[in-house]
């Protein structure tokens, strides 16, 4: 019995030593982003220098599921300290108290220096990206426009890789069905409009491979599994520049959006989270990120520091903006859950 008591005491001691060690490493920040080439660019531009400056970072990946962040916050077990989110997630999360309200004074940053800085109170703009389609020039002829690429299965037989999400897909489907870009959200705001978009997607349903993580689109294209794939423009850029793939981006109806840094509500490491966001919002570091991926920095001060060679590959290049379609993040922040549910039911049928 005495031996048992000794053992028990030793275990207790070990336990307290462990928690002391955890307290020391309290600033081991968990930063979650979208994986693949994008997270690599963030690693090169922000995470590695941040670690070199004496901090600790644990990286995590997700595919943008707001439910994962909500579940943590609702369970009061927040393990992600900083999350890279898209605009609809930032807005939806802000409305329901999933994210901390950003104190720009504490960040030591000037909100007006950031493109879109006043869109939400709960996140700091980080980059501008765009959802686009692309094809392999060695296998596929250039399509006339985006709609021909996605919906004309006669002219371009074969599969298409689309994101397993209603975002942008529904808008593209409506425009392909003849809705004027300006009316897209008026139509999509009604049940009939949603059904109309799904009906248009029905015409290619059996020709679609649905992807979930951003790296899959370029991968399916590279494997020859699909004739057209959608993804975020930086993922295709990375495949073209780094992997020397003969891909070409279709900029027609590109759908630009922001990515943001947000802090899940209730993280115990909020000070570290603020420190990281300040660090990652430095104009030079944000300009550096463009060395690895073709996303435009949201910090206006970064513009003069960007290598001019990448400018034509950014979504904001004038040539790429000719037929741009701007998605409405407020619409998706409000209706995203409903549309995702409807979309998932449609997928399963």
């Amino acid at each position: 019995m005495k031996k048992f008591a000794t053992l028990f005491g030793a275990a207790l001691l070990a336990g307290s030593a462990l928690s002391a060690a955890q307290a020391l490493a309290a600033d081991d920040l968990t930063i979650t982003s979208w994986g693949g080439a994008y997270q690599e660019s963030q690693r090169n531009a922000f995470f590695t220098p941040f670690v070199a400056a004496g901090n600790k970072v644990t990286e995590a990946e997700y595919n943008g599921e707001i439910a994962k962040i909500r579940a943590m916050v609702e369970a009061k077990a927040v393990t992600w300290d900083v999350v890279d989110v898209d605009t609809q997630t930032a807005l939806a999360g802000c409305a329901e108290g999933t994210f901390e309200t950003i104190d720009w004074g504490k960040l030591g940053l000037d909100k007006s220096k950031f493109i879109g800085g006043d869109v939400t109170d709960c996140a700091v703009p980080n980059i501008l990206y765009s959802t686009v389609a692309a094809y392999d020039t060695s296998k596929t002829q250039a399509p006339a426009d985006l709609f021909e690429a996605l919906f004309d299965t006669k002219k371009f037989p074969g599969k298409r890789a689309l994101q397993k999400s209603p975002f942008v897909n529904l808008e593209w489907a409506l425009m392909a069905d003849g809705v004027a870009p300006a009316d897209v959200y008026k139509v999509l705001g009604t049940d009939e409009g949603v059904e109309r978009a799904l009906k248009k997607l029905d015409t290619i349903k059996k020709d679609v491979i649905w992807w979930e993580s951003g790296a899959q689109g370029p991968q399916l294209l590279a494997d020859g599994q699909v004739v057209f794939a959608t993804s975020w423009n930086g993922r295709f850029y990375n495949a073209i520049k780094t992997d020397k793939k003969p891909f070409k981006i279709i900029w027609d109806r590109q759908a630009p959006d922001w990515d943001w840094w947000a802090i899940p509500k209730g993280t115990p490491k909020i000070d570290g989270a603020y420190r990281f966001i300040t660090f990652a919002s430095d104009p030079q570091r944000m300009a550096d990120q463009t060395k690895w991926i073709s996303y435009g920095p949201a910090n206006k001060d970064s513009a003069p520091l960007i290598d001019p060679a990448i400018l034509p590959d950014l979504p904001s290049a004038p040539d790429n903006l000719k037929t741009v379609f701007y998605p409405d993040p407020q619409f998706w922040g409000d209706k995203g859950d409903e549309l995702r549910e409807r979309f998932n039911a449609w997928l399963a049928q």
């Binding site: 439910a67 409305a95 059904e195 549910e341 997928l347």
Partner: protein, 429 residues
């Protein structure tokens, strides 16, 4: 009687101190029994915490529904006296405004909206928008001002939905997983066809599992026979072919199938080389090259491959115990090989067949990763939808209800199986 000091003469055997021998023995054995119990206690505790408690929580979550009751306490009380016919009275609107202001302050409007949206598609955004604007309403009359924010509050159906979800417990999740819903008057009806997906998902899950079980049986039975009747040396080499894949991780094997099944991949190349593609095109089954990736075909093939050893091994171990003398006797009595096999050998293997098939079937019901990787959206089974309810919809009620449906289906099948085959006849070796 004068036998006060003597022991009662009732025929009971007694120990030296007068206690009945039975009691004394039980007392002596109790300590031993407790020690023996202590040995199974860890497993017992493990099962309670890892199996019984989670299942109870799941059952509870499938009917527990506190979101509306917690976040709209005054509205819920005010709605109690409403008859459900016309619009609710002014008090309800007053309570609603107070509740919504409180919810807006605590950023809980989205939670209310999320819950109501399960029953009234499209209302989530309206609740959140109403929460943003509710601060502008300062004084009575409330009704018209609330309806002015969004006309959804002017529809009795909205209030009926709130009233229905006011209780802490609801049949809603279980019903909706059976493609049913409650009408405002409490009667139960089918949901519109474009939303009715869960019955077909359940049927799909059962169908795929049954098909895979049959395929593993058809493929595995002859192999098990070969293994059981071959000479030891040959059998052990053959056994390696069965066991090697069995020891390989499920994820690795599924990913391998993904590589084999890609369009223009190894499998398609094989079909092309052997002329099967040409033949299928000729008879009109196929038009061009086969599309295998992300299809039901790929799902069933990969699952059959993974499940094969689970069906095969119990059959094999039962076959090993069948003495060859039975078959010799049957033949010597004039039975043809086929007749002897059907009438004498096969019935003896049934306990193994039963065990192997039940094992495979129940494991198949829970398949998640394989359909997700090699199947398309219409090949996903119940587990895939449970994952989605938790990871991308944050809907624990729905996930629990799907779990309950799956558990119930499994138990019913087990019961039917027990009636048909008899669980005591099952043998794993």
């Amino acid at each position: 009687m004068a036998m006060a000091q003597a022991l009662p003469n009732d025929g009971v055997m007694r120990a030296a101190d007068g206690t009945p021998l039975k009691v004394a023995l039980a007392r002596a054995e109790r300590a031993e029994k407790l020690k023996a119990m202590a040995l199974v206690l860890p497993l017992f505790a493990f099962i309670i915490f890892s199996f019984v408690v989670p299942i109870l929580i799941m059952l509870y979550n499938s009917v527990y529904d506190p979101d509306v009751a917690e976040n709209m306490p005054q509205t819920v009380v005010a709605l109690k006296s409403w008859d459900g016919k016309d619009l609710p009275p002014e008090e309800v609107f007053a309570a609603f405004v107070a509740d919504m202001k409180e919810a807006q302050r605590n950023k809980q409007t989205a939670l209310i909206g999320k819950r109501l949206n399960y029953e009234m598609s499209g209302i989530r955004s309206k609740v959140v928008a109403t929460g943003r604007k509710i601060g502008s309403i300062e004084a009575a009359p409330y009704r018209d001002q609330v309806i002015a924010i969004d006309k959804v509050w002017g529809e009795p159906e909205t209030w009926a939905t709130i009233k229905r979800s006011a209780s802490d417990y609801t049949p809603f999740y279980i019903l909706s997983m059976l493609d049913l819903r409650q009408n405002p008057d409490g009667s139960i009806e089918a949901v519109p066809a474009d939303r009715a997906i869960y019955k077909s998902i359940l049927a799909r899950t059962l169908g795929i599992s049954l098909l895979v079980t049959l395929l593993t049986l058809v493929l595995g039975y002859p192999v098990a026979y070969l293994l059981a009747t071959s000479p030891q040396r040959t059998a052990s080499i053959l056994m390696i072919f069965v066991l090697l894949p069995f020891w390989t991780s499920l994820l690795v094997r599924t990913t391998a199938w993904m590589v084999l099944m890609t369009d223009g991949g190894v499998f398609a190349g094989l079909l092309h080389l052997t002329g099967i593609t040409w033949f299928l095109n000729l008879i009109g089954v196929l038009n061009g090259e086969p599309q295998l990736f992300k299809t039901r075909f790929a799902t069933v093939v990969a699952m059959t491959h993974i499940q094969l050893p689970f069906t095969l091994l119990p059959i094999y171990s039962v076959m090993k115990t069948i003495s060859p003398t039975y078959m010799r006797a049957a033949k010597s009595l004039g039975g043809t090989p086929f007749y002897s096999f059907i009438r004498v050998y096969m019935p003896q293997t049934l306990p193994g067949v039963a065990a192997g098939c039940l094992l495979t079937f129940i494991l198949c019901l829970g398949y998640y990763i394989t359909p997700a990787i090699v199947g398309g959206p219409t090949d996903q089974m119940i587990s895939g939808f449970i994952e989605r309810a938790i990871n991308s919809e944050n809907n624990w009620g729905k996930a629990s209800a799907l779990g309950v449906i799956l558990l119930t289906a499994t138990l019913i099948l087990y019961y039917v199986y027990n009636k048909l085959v008899g669980i005591d006849r099952m043998k794993l070796g």
